[in-house]
Symmetry: C2
Subunit: 157 residues, 2 copies
Amino acid sequence: MISQKAKYAFKALVLLAQRGRGESLQTDEIAVQAAIPRKFLEQILLQLKANGLVESRRGRSGGYMLIADPAAITVSQVLRIVDGPIAPLTCISRTAYSRCRDCPDETHCAVRRLFAETYAATLARMETTTLAAALAEDGLASAQSLALPTLELADAI
Amino acid sequence: MISQKAKYAFKALVLLAQRGRGESLQTDEIAVQAAIPRKFLEQILLQLKANGLVESRRGRSGGYMLIADPAAITVSQVLRIVDGPIAPLTCISRTAYSRCRDCPDETHCAVRRLFAETYAATLARMETTTLAAALAEDGLASAQSLALPTLELADAI
DNA sequence: TTAAATCCTATTGAATGAGTAGAGATTATC
DNA sequence: GATAATCTCTACTCATTCAATAGGATTTAA
C-alpha cells in the first residue's frame, strides 16, 4: 500500500497537470478540490518543489505550478520523493541500498533472488507510467497506448 | 519495502523447501539457520500453518514441513498471508477492497488508473514467481526459465 | 501598511512493526 | 506414568512511522 501522503501528492500533481503548463494553483484550491488537509498539503507541495517537480510563487497571488512535462513525470519518481525507496528489499535498491544484516552472501540469497524478479517487473512499469497516463479520460486508454498485454481491470486487480 | 516478518517467512519456507517433501524441520533449527528470533518465528510458522502452507507435528520430535509443491507457492500468496494486501490502493485490491473515503467517482479516479496499471504488472509477476524459483542455485536461472524480457539484475535494480 | 500567500520547524496521537514473555497442550521416550 | 521437548495461544512492550496539527517567519501584491 502506498501512503496517504503519496495519494495526496498524485492528486495534487494531477490537478496541476490538468491546469496546464504555466498555469498555477494555490494550496487552498488544491486542498479543497482534492479534499486534502491544508497544512499537510503544504508540506507535500514543498517536498515536490524541493525535488524539482513544481515551482512556487510566494506572496499575495502566489501558488504552485508544474515544471515538467506530465509525460516526463513517472510514478516511480513521485513515489520515491514522498514514500522513499520502492524496492521490496534494501539489498536490491538502487536509491537506498544497504545490506541485510545477517546475510552472509547476498549473491546467493534466495529471498533476494525471488524479489529481484518481481521488482524488476514493478519498476519497469513504474518508470514507464507517467502522469500523462493519468490524464487520459477513458479508463483503459493509457494501458492500451503502451501496447502491452493489457489485462482487464477486473482480472488484474 | 516488505516487512521483516515477510523476509523471515520466505527464509523459513526456503529452508523447508530445501529439506524436501515429507521432511520436517523444527522451529529451533530454522531459527538458528536463518537467524530469526525464535519466538517471532513461532508466530510466523503458525500463521503459515493456518493458511495451509505448512503442516506441523507437536511434541517430542515435532516440527514443521511444507505441504504444497514449491512450484505452487507464489510470492503473492506468501506476502498476502504475512503482510496483508499487496495492492497499492485499497480501491484496486481484490482481497481487501474498500473505497477511498472522499472519492466521489472511483471509475474516473486518475490516481486509481495510474496504479491499476503498475499493479497489474507487479501482480502478474508475483503470481507466476514461486518458491521453486528461489531454489535454483545460480542467480539468473529462474528469470531466464520464464522466457521473459529479462533485465540484467544490475539494471533492473 | 496590510492581507494573503508560501516557507519552515516542532509537536501530537494513533497505529504499526518487531519483537518478548509466559503460560497451555501434545507427544516421544525413559 | 513422569518428564522433557516440542508446538500453540494470548498478551504485552517499546520504538518508529503515519497523518496530521500548530504556529510563527518570510515574501509579495494591492
